[in-house]
Subunit: 671 residues, 3 copies
């Protein structure tokens, strides 16, 4: 994160595009920013065409003016490299920069995030522009962060990508023998004798739908390659900036659980994480929380920047309802509750043309401050000034980790069988939500992270056991940890080849079970089982498993596998390995995981009514509780110790019954 | 319209394709036409391939025979130029004539309406053929009308269109600076430095769905350009005919509210309007009425030709139900009730091969006259002879105008936000239907038409205020008119750029309101309000508005904007400006508009039971009422003055309780 | 079929792909095969890339090893030619082998069944490989059958196909005049003046959806051409094998009612029929039965091979439920009940990579025999040894034939109008199911088959009366047969041109009716009629017909055609012609057809409870009953004569009440 000592308070601002407006509007913007307590702007996100009108000409005059204006007005700057959309002339003269779609059609100029990552033209000019920007603006002290590209994403299937894919494969596999083995090309006689025979996996080759492939190994490698290709673009620009400004703080705006990019790999190349949070009004708050926790988790728990959110409406949903009063504030604090040290908006002034003109903004089309939305933004700005640096740099202290892994996400959803309803995030979210809605603190970690910091590691649908992750799990349990996984786990190794010898493969000894078969249930069907006296449904998949050391208390009640165990627990070394062989409902997970936490001595941050979220962050050894009332009614919570209300300054003694209006927030620091 | 004095009665006939049949069938056709009272045939609609077997050969022998045959049999002729489908050899030798689809794929030969409007080949040969036809058949006195092309429509995205689009843009904008400003290309850095950089907006460039674009300005201009391109094809053929026959009556068959072509612009180039009416059996009758009124309205109220309708079934619906007994007659008279002076069918004899062989026809596959359908056609033919010229040339005298505008249609449905359920025609139809089902006479007019003829002008969803239309509205209201518009109005000017300074933009002073925000409701959700003691739903969009001179009696009952006005009325000059800030149901519109009409002293043509439609036309100062019973039961109406039944000759004194069997029709002329 | 005297028992085995496994696994496979009673394996299905690494090199070493291994282990072999998927190098170096999709996109390498049938490369190398295999392995006595290609199917629309289509058309039509007439190209002016002007009918030319075409004649011919093209590939390989091994038994695995290929034409070129049966668990058993009966019927009743079925799960359904216990056995015997002399699985050992790794197998990923699935396979293997040759070569003796015809299937579903819900197989299945679920024995025959063997011929939706089939029907009825057809019959001749003069065309005199019109009902709507005191619905289409000699007892009860006949019977010569002018429900068909059978003195094989299927086969004059309990409950049947239980050897006297557990099977031979 941008160094919290330097910034002194939660940064507050957003994307500012003065180049869409005549200069006479700029001064009015400055007045309104001041009024709203704005202290940072992201500039230059989509200015490539303006900055570089042809191959050899660069024109920074307007950007200079803008930089000087905001600097004079005391604003900090997050400077974008502007490579999120290439200029029309570049596409016209150098069509290699255009992407080819999944269906094999070459694109023409249009849209944004439109550059082929393996285009020589893109690689040349994007890096050159980043360097020129660094050289020109390195002297600005208020330039606190660099924003490379914008919302990297998508895929390309062009000939340059095809060629680069072959190079990537050569580096990965060394020989065609290794590749043929990894992809199991003996199946359907797909053996490759020459690297040139390999083509991109898309609708014209191995796919018959976006997520339906005939060769999982090829498609999976293409996902990895595509994520790496885009990452290389990011890294090349970042390196160019760093070559000029060695201590530059560089980021790009991520998008939470975004499937196309392996953010856990990207995080290594980013100085701090920033991301764009665009929930729908009706999303459960745990959904946003899970995204925040992922964004914090991929950088080892470091605070992040909420780079974009809308002050009021979005424009791209089917029904773009208004954010209700106080919701913008509530969700801003929720970001901070999960680790944000900056709260920023898209956009500062609402565009008048093209597809985002009905997206919410700090300054609406009416142009003045007398709007509901501006008043809410202004009030929040004042509060953040009051709050100062109290929460900056705080860290979490979760004892529970949830394992998330892009290779697993990709491979589970490429799988042909057992059920098309099997979605990686659905499973993760069921477990996460059950914990989050009970105020258990959770870190979302990757396979490479340290498990030993946690008492409980949950790895729902750990389909692919990459590398030696089974060793790591084995050690974690043996040394006393509690590990949980589910159906469709341990099936394959890293090339999506089945681990033979009985499911769940390399996890079998740890879990003490053998899964003989797995029954896929149609979407409305259910089996049932009982847990601690209550009956729960078993849906989606029902594993037919045999105990090999594990124990169980719940058994299927119906069908020919009635009496077989539904979930199991295996005492292994000093710890426990738990396996849940089916999907149940949220009520089951809440009960089951609460029991699991209790067994491990883990308590919620605070006991609250449903819909009141509490997270705990630690700063210099002191606990800060964020209490967020997501409900439509007033709520109260009872303080477990004496705390100070950071927004009012009031000291609240232990046992205080603290009242929260609907959508209200409290930030409570341990004294 | 074809001169009513010359034709003497409502023309009755249809598309006749003898070229699909051996000559021995033709004589039988003549016998059956006579039996059915047919007096006009449309010939030569799809004969290009027959007339021109290669670049330089033309062969009119068979057409000569056909022309002579129908002439000898006393039939009038509407002669088509046959350019609605190009020959296979032309596509093979000159592929520039083939269209490119929205997804970028170049088409091969097939189908119809298949020529690229910017194809040099098409332009050359279509015009040459039209001229040759005019030269050859100019001497036929019975050739009463020319039918250019056929059902013009669709779009092309080929390279010739791309080049022509650039030329069109140059003519429109003059400079790239003006174009960049109009399209707001500073957004996402789309600035164009050279005209050659501009590409067609389709799935490969700015669109991600047919109606979802990233640059509204570009996509909107392409719609205008495409409509103009096809219009130029029509005009070029028309000019060729006129160069030979200066007083030729030239038309092409339109399709009612057809989105791709701006018929208000086309109408200027057409001598009379003709159109094809293909409702589904379950369509509300007001839907057909609205199409008829549009077709009459685009040519300033002049009578039109019903060029095509099916005598019984269509073949292209999912379920092609039979037209029930008497429905063909009912709908034919409905066309006349709304301004038709000719009633024609597709097709005279049912084809035996290809995709329209199960489309209804006057002469069925069985080949004789002993069918239900033929008997109905024959009876109608007799009636039209009885009717004579009584209704020819009659005009409407509506005091209410409904504003329809293609630019608004296009731009509303390209809008990204606020709601995907926002459909231009849906809103128009709600207002139209509420009036039509109460027998209020409505004209459908365009922005360029004279408002001063009307007491009430309704302009639902007047999203785009082009040119000085606001001035025209301002003057209309100031001088005593009543103007109504709705949510999502006044938002943008003609390039789809938002009018800043507060919604509804240039209409704000006229309406006396400020719309601060607009809440999009999910498809099943509703707010509510009360009007004159009854509660109505508010759905789709709820405007949050402030009164600035206007008044209101209805207020939202729920949500955080409860108490804000739902609709407003502003006394402005001598008139009133009404704003309806949400969508409600048909019951509300019926009540609300009836009240509005009453305030303006406007009465229905006749008070009837639900489902009995009445329109009024005036001929030489006399009122003609068309009474149409669309219900499944017998109905009666009470005559408000003495009238003559034009189909029976009976004189009906004022106060007569006139009985109509189910699906029956009366045409009643003021004495 | 493979000669039943040579094989001695029902063959039992499946697809075996040892090339996917290291050799150390092979010996274990042999042990497990022996354990399971496996006696045949299909080898080499997807080994083209392995056998031919480049244009001129062939490498049979591994296949030699495999052949020797299975031979030494006493297994019979069905040897595939391996041309179901071409090598990657071939696609890379000779792209003509790649198909072009229906949307016009050229494919890249990937998938299987991927070769263009008109590719010179494919034609050259596929035939050469087949011949080399024959030469190399002709000496193996255990090589009992040849398996050419694999699941032939799909379409190609490339330039080579386009050129070949023109040649095919020239051979069929001789002149363009004949072609223009057959396709009715005068419609929409599609006249062709040169063969080169003809293009493939796809999304870029005459189609707007897969099954929606603007020229039925062209699209229909392309289906015929495509089926013929693939058949020529099969025939060329078969000829190559036969040139080396004159008495080779050659087949390819068909897929039941597979729309793209006219299997009735294919059957002539196949020595015996084999097919792959992949029902979903929830399919009615009559659906599978109908496929089996088709497969038996296309080869005149000869026994066939069940080439593939899954032992447990499939992997490509949305929800891949496990086959319940005993279902694999039940369905295996059902195949035999309908004519199979071999029961085979896909696959012997479960793959570890690519898209079929979760498809069921004899040997699961766990690798040992201790699984539910293996135990069931093993038990079935034992039973088949007990059964020996008792059922081999048995034939059916149905008195009822159901007419199925690919040209009808294709043309009905290309029809534009009257209803999109009109599906050829749906209608066939309604009639078939009504008979099958009452244990009436049915043969499924083609238009060329002998009708005189049957007492009843059912031809639902005989839309197209090809050639002189009406003569054949006329003669069949005149000589005493009962013929039944339905709505939408007799409409067109073989080019899909309507037979004028009154529906149902050439069948009109036989049926003694005239169908004047046909009303298409929306999906939820129904008319009603009464049959023998019970009311039934009339849905989909309601014919409005006039009696011309026929009689009726059921009449529409609603709408304007109330009182018109619903179905008719015409005494014609010594027989009867029945016409059913609407679709009703299964209950109606069961009652109606049972009555029809009774009138013809036809009885069910056995009277049973619902869900108990009985088929009868005859061997050397003795009746063999297969009794299959498809229900979830125990059932009993009463024997109508003394029979021997072939699986237990027990003799069961006439009148025995025979008990069957749920999913159980009895095979009962007349003594």
């Amino acid at each position: 994160m941008i160094d919290s000592e330097k910034i002194g308070k939660v940064l507050y601002g957003g994307d500012y595009n003065p180049e869409q407006w005549p200069e006479e509007v700029w001064e009015e913007d400055m007045r309104l920013f001041k009024l709203a307590g704005i202290d940072i702007v992201t500039l230059n996100v989509f200015s490539w065409a303006a900055l570089q009108p042809d191959e050899n000409t660069y024109c920074f005059d307007k950007l200079d003016k803008i930089m000087n204006l905001v600097t004079e007005n005391g604003l900090k700057v997050c400077l974008a490299t502007s490579t999120g959309a290439h200029p029309a002339w570049m596409a016209h003269r150098h069509p290699d920069i255009l992407r080819t779609e999944f269906n094999g059609m070459k694109r023409k100029f249009g849209g944004r995030h439109n550059s082929c990552p393996n285009s020589p033209t893109f690689q040349l000019y994007s890096v050159r522009l980043a360097k020129k920007l660094a050289e020109r603006y390195k002297g600005y002290d208020n330039l606190v962060a660099w924003h490379v590209g914008n919302e990297y994403g998508g895929e390309c299937y062009c000939e340059n990508c095809e060629a680069a894919f072959r190079v990537w494969l050569k580096q990965k596999y060394g020989t065609l023998e290794a590749l043929n083995k990894a992809w199991n090309t003996a199946f359907w006689g797909h053996t490759f004798y020459d690297w040139e025979e390999i083509v991109v996996p898309n609708l014209l080759s191995e796919h018959f739908e976006e997520d339906r492939t005939m060769f999982q190994g090829i498609s999976l490698d293409y996902r990895r390659f595509n994520s790496d290709s885009l990452l290389k673009c990011y890294e090349a620009e970042a390196a160019a900036i760093r070559s000029v400004i060695p201590d530059a703080q560089i980021t790009t705006n991520l998008m939470g659980f975004y499937k196309s990019l392996d953010y856990q790999k990207w995080a290594d190349s980013m100085d701090f994480i920033s991301w764009d949070n665009y929930p729908a009004n009706e999303d459960p708050y745990a959904r946003m929380a899970m995204n925040h926790d992922l964004m914090r988790g991929i950088k080892g728990g470091k605070p992040f920047v909420l780079m974009e959110q809308t002050p009021s409406v979005t424009n791209w949903l089917a029904y773009n309802a208004l954010k209700r009063p106080d919701v913008m504030r509530l969700w801003s604090y929720q970001a901070m509750a999960h680790g944000a040290d900056a709260v920023m908006f898209f956009q500062m002034r609402r565009s008048i043309g093209a597809c985002e003109k009905y997206h919410g903004a700090v300054i609406d089309h009416v142009g003045h401050e007398n709007t509901r939305v501006f008043r809410e933004i202004q009030a929040m700005g004042k509060e953040l000034e009051v709050l100062g640096d109290e929460t900056l740099g705080a860290r979490g202290a979760a004892k529970i980790a949830l394992l998330a892994d892009w290779d697993n996400w990709w491979s589970v959803e490429y799988s042909a069988g057992p059920s098309r309803d099997l979605k990686y995030l659905d499973e993760l979210f069921l477990y996460y939500r059950a914990l989050e809605e009970q105020n258990f603190q959770v870190d979302i970690i990757g396979m490479k992270d340290d498990f030993s910091k946690y008492q409980v590691v949950l790895a729902p649908i750990l389909y692919m056991t990459k590398g030696t992750v089974d060793e790591k799990i084995r050690k974690f349990v043996q040394e006393g940890g509690t590990f949980l996984t589910t159906f469709f786990s341990g099936m394959v190794e890293e090339h999506d080849l089945v681990v033979t010898g009985g499911y769940p493969g390399r996890l079998r000894d740890i879990l003490g079970i053998w899964v003989e078969e797995s029954d896929a249930l149609p979407s409305q069907a259910a089996n049932h089982f009982s847990y601690k006296g209550t009956e729960y449904p078993a849906v989606l998949l029902c594993d037919l498993m045999h105990l090999e050391g594990a124990e169980s208390e719940s058994f299927y009640q119906e069908d020919f596998y009635a009496g077989m165990p539904v979930w199991t627990k295996h005492h292994f070394g000093k710890g426990n390995a738990v396996y849940v062989g089916t999907r149940s409902n949220l009520e089951f997970y809440k009960r089951f995981l609460r029991d699991l936490c209790e067994e491990n001595g883990i308590s919620p941050a605070l006991e609250t009514a449903e819909g009141v979220e509490v997270t705990e962050r630690l700063k210099e050894g002191k606990s800060i509780l964020f209490v967020l009332n997501h409900t439509e009614e007033a709520q109260s919570v009872r303080l477990e110790k004496t705390r100070k209300d950071l927004l009012t300054g009031e000291v609240l003694p232990e046992g205080t019954e603290l009242f929260l209006a609907k959508k209200d927030v409290k930030i409570l620091k341990e004294l």
